[in-house]
Symmetry: D2
Subunit: 342 residues, 4 copies
């Protein structure tokens, strides 16, 4: 299948290129890049030498439409919404990695992001979290790939929220992410000397991903959920670990909770419930896995710890998983890899 | 003043040596080391070459007593309690950096640590958190230097707890520490290849420091406090950042809360309340500061973010601060240093 | 094909397990571990959960022989030489990752390592550097997988040495390695707090790999080569970068030298000659590539810069490459992966 | 003494501010910053809160001249040479941290940097390497603070070069630096995700510091010295380690060479000759020390390993050392600190 990547030279874009290159059913058709047009991708990312040496071009919708069955748009939000309609309207299936089509409620998007340029497409966008939305994804022509923090948070919370075992209004998500989450764009906040050996909270209570998580949890629990969400920046490249606190609605044993997770995810290829050890970044970095464990504490609280690789399950890998669903292939085709650990 | 360090070659011990060496009123008298007896300290820690070249000896109580006005015991808990009484009973003042004399309630210590060998001294031990216990420290002959997590947590919580502005039963402490907190002892958990580029929660809900924090908060709030405490291991050497969540008891503006902190800490030399930016590890690493900021969120919760250098304000620096109090010197003598930032 | 790994829980062993698990023609038969016998491998290395859950056993030669066509021995030198003969003599092909069968000259081995327990097998051992020894490897029953430093050094030097373009007596290898090279064994030298943000030279002029490099260069240049070799420890997990200095024997342009490399390696799947940019660790980390570039300087010296991932091309990946040769498969089967870059 | 810092918000500038703030004889008078004019320095570098809260201003020569006895110029080369003459001509002593006044030969400067705007001042500039140029510095009104790589290289080479024990034409300097050496300016090359867990050589054979080292070595050895110099970028913030190779001119024992270093540096406060262990970054990071050790190898080569903290002995610390000389104070006033090690 011929697929193209729009925005191939950002960190998400190049991770897509890497994964699609290893995918047995994919032919990488076109790569576009605004900043590095007319450069070979391996000049920008020299690890690709002798593996992917495609020239990046400025975006040409006509060319893309003609040469792609599915297109990945790895663009900043706000840019995506100008381009995606032009593709979808021409009958090309799109997997969009920005925030532009993740919301059901236009007002929420516009409150947290900006005026939407193609609101009519919002309802067409299917939220691309396969474990919780598989059926709809299969038939979609526009998949809105979830944010990295929402991916890990929603997978961690769904089994207990959907069964009413936790109070939806009691949720606190204390999340820690590697620096690739901030992308390749230059800023003082990602200067090596500012990040290395440092750790900080940022956008405390104000990160956009909070609204994305809240919308989905609200739908599941049929009430307007408000939660506390504190992202932090880790001095690592890849990986997110979320430590989540919630009140149990009843006096339930740890083992019962684990059972809920096992039931919920036993058929899932990319969710691992850990009963014997807590997740660590190095168990998932480099893989499409989401690892989850938990602990019940005094006072009927549960602490859920969950991890993903933000560039894989948190973006490019999940996008490929969605592609597999769209195409009717095995869901883990091209994604069967454990992390590096070391 | 002649002071000695028992256990000088652990990470806490050598940090004490570094700080005491720069202290204008101190003469480093004796250094003891079990593992490296008869070695010069600069052979074990070569950065000390031409600065501190004292030979470490096996512990000889007689020698210590004769040659020291104050003694720092930087020993593992359980070891300290065998040695401290021999010093205190001989009239030497002791600043103990282990957990052995931090508790008022013997039962709590014995539940979280082990059988106590010198319980009669427990009541003599004064909890060495100067900002909250200054007066008692000055007159003490046995200062129990607080744990690193308790230091940052208690400084962050005291102003709101003591004024009844937060519900003591609602506290969640999500803390992240650098690897020096685990000491120099070899273990797989501190192998470079297991820590670098990794991040994990550990001892979820079960870390001993939880009981130390709970005891102090219980005293202040005159009720038995239970809290949630999750420590995490950061791939950095120094520093702790704690993100603390609590329910406000009333509808209070952020500014009012900041005022409480300003009132509480305005005379303090080592606590900085940050209204304009959130604390980061690099603002305190290498210094004796504790930095604190906060955010009020929807639903009447406050998120407090606080940082310390675990080896300085979280152990050796606070111990020197306690020494200054004991000796009647300026509290910041030998400690007036900003961090390195870079 | 059924293969087994003896010593599966060291860093090299588990990297073998990871690569063999992704290899399409391999069935992982038996894993042995001295330290973790009767544990499932994914209990020791939890990233393997749901991927490889084989139980590790104590070594049982009989069982191994019965159940394996090829065996990888990932053992410390000195241990390998006791076990390898028992396998080879029973007709099992062995790829040994220790230093025990890399030398042609017994005396050199015994000078740099120890008394050899099975010297009669030395001559049977084929040096497993495919790019320079492919033919012999194919027919071998005992492949001695090269050391990590020798792999990158020999690949970098061969084209110029074999064509007489550099003076063999002028070589200086200044090499920098990640900490996985030191293995999983606990030592102060690999404690996170001792390695992070640090950098050092070690075993200056005395590292064993020097003798391995010298032996091969001596054979190629038909004279006894002596060189200078300084290894350094980088605060990273994976990767070696070697900066190599040598005197050119003639006045040769940079372009001519590049041509030599291109000629030498144009058919090679795992060597990339970089004319446009210098190698960096992140271009090869996670892959089986060796990247090489060079610069001619005033005074007729050439500076060659070369990189590998020490765990892949420097050990487990090269071992799989050797397996592919032994088995008559495509040389890059199961190894077609670019690095992660991020 | 009132001193000012021009360019106070770069990494070198803020390190000067930190060190000068701890200096007992200094009053920080004016700080200038182009990028952050009218900001308090502790808003830009929050670790300075409650320690240094001076407002940075745009450069106003008149104000500087009126309010400073000595001025540090921490500006990019090319900018310095426009400003320094205006200060020197008004009778203010200047310690310049750029490359603009380090060269004796105008042509060399202009070959490696750019057209010089104030060449007449070149001869006034005294090379500020105290250990090798102390007398001239004391009487100077313009001190050209050496580059970081030249500082460590020249201190490592002087004792053997000046005594004729090494061949000046045989020198190879393989140097590795932390990322603070590249400054705070944004560039892809210092993006966290590009540097972390990476290592690379850069500007191979072409780094400007090579010419600075060559000029000084040429003067000392009374012949035009050409050397090989390869800088590398370490994934650490602070510190340079140089591994230097040279041919011995005679058959000399290691011990004899150490004696030369001891003789040369026995009175020096900031050079430590290590006979028992090799220098490591963590022994000097945070201090003004230069550590040196060596090894003699087969074939009459010496390998010298030397380290400094590039921000201290390699720039701001050495600048303060020069100030102490200018002012006639103890040379280590305000600089008596060991590194942090951890």
């Amino acid at each position: 299948m011929k697929v193209s990547v729009i925005g191939a030279t950002g960190y998400t874009g190049v991770e897509l290129v890497r994964l699609l290159n290893e995918h047995p059913n994919i032919e990488l058709s076109l790569l576009t890049s605004n900043s590095f047009a007319e450069n070979k991708i391996d000049e920008i990312y020299p690890h690709l030498k002798e593996e992917v040496e495609i020239i990046c071009h400025k975006l040409d919708i006509e060319q893309i439409v003609t040469n792609s069955e599915v297109v990945f748009t790895a663009l900043p939000h706000g840019v995506s919404m100008d381009i995606v309609p032009k593709l979808v309207n021409r009958g090309v299936k799109v997997i969009d990695l920005s925030g532009d089509y993740r919301y059901q409620t236009l007002a929420t998007y516009e409150e947290y992001y900006q005026k939407h340029a193609s609101p009519q497409l919002l309802s067409q966008g299917v939220y691309g979290l396969p474990e919780l939305n598989r059926k709809k994804i299969k038939d979609s022509n526009l998949v809105a790939n979830p944010g990295c923090y929402p991916t890990v948070s929603l997978l961690a919370l769904a089994p207990l929220l959907k069964t009413g075992l936790i109070d939806p209004q009691s949720i606190i998500i204390d999340a820690k992410s590697g620096a690739t989450g901030a992308g390749r764009k230059l800023s003082l906040g990602t200067h090596f000397c500012e990040v290395n050996n440092n750790f900080k909270a940022y956008k405390v209570g104000q990160h956009r991903h909070r609204s994305e998580i809240e919308e989905k949890l609200s739908i599941w629990s049929k009430q307007e959920v408000k939660l506390n969400f504190t992202p932090h920046l880790l001095p690592v490249k890849r990986g997110i670990l979320a430590t989540i606190y919630a009140d149990l609605t009843d006096d339930i044993a740890e083992l019962e909770l684990f059972k809920q997770y096992q039931n919920h995810y036993q058929e899932e290829l990319f969710v691992r419930v850990r009963e014997d050890n807590m997740p660590e970044l190095k168990y998932v970095a480099g893989s499409n896995y989401c690892d989850i464990s938990l602990k019940v504490t005094d006072g009927n609280k549960v602490i859920i710890v969950a991890t993903i690789d933000n560039l894989i399950k948190g973006s490019a890998g999940q996008a490929v998983q969605n592609l597999n669903l769209l195409a009717g292939w095995e869901e883990d085709l091209g994604l069967k890899k454990v992390g590096l650990y070391l």
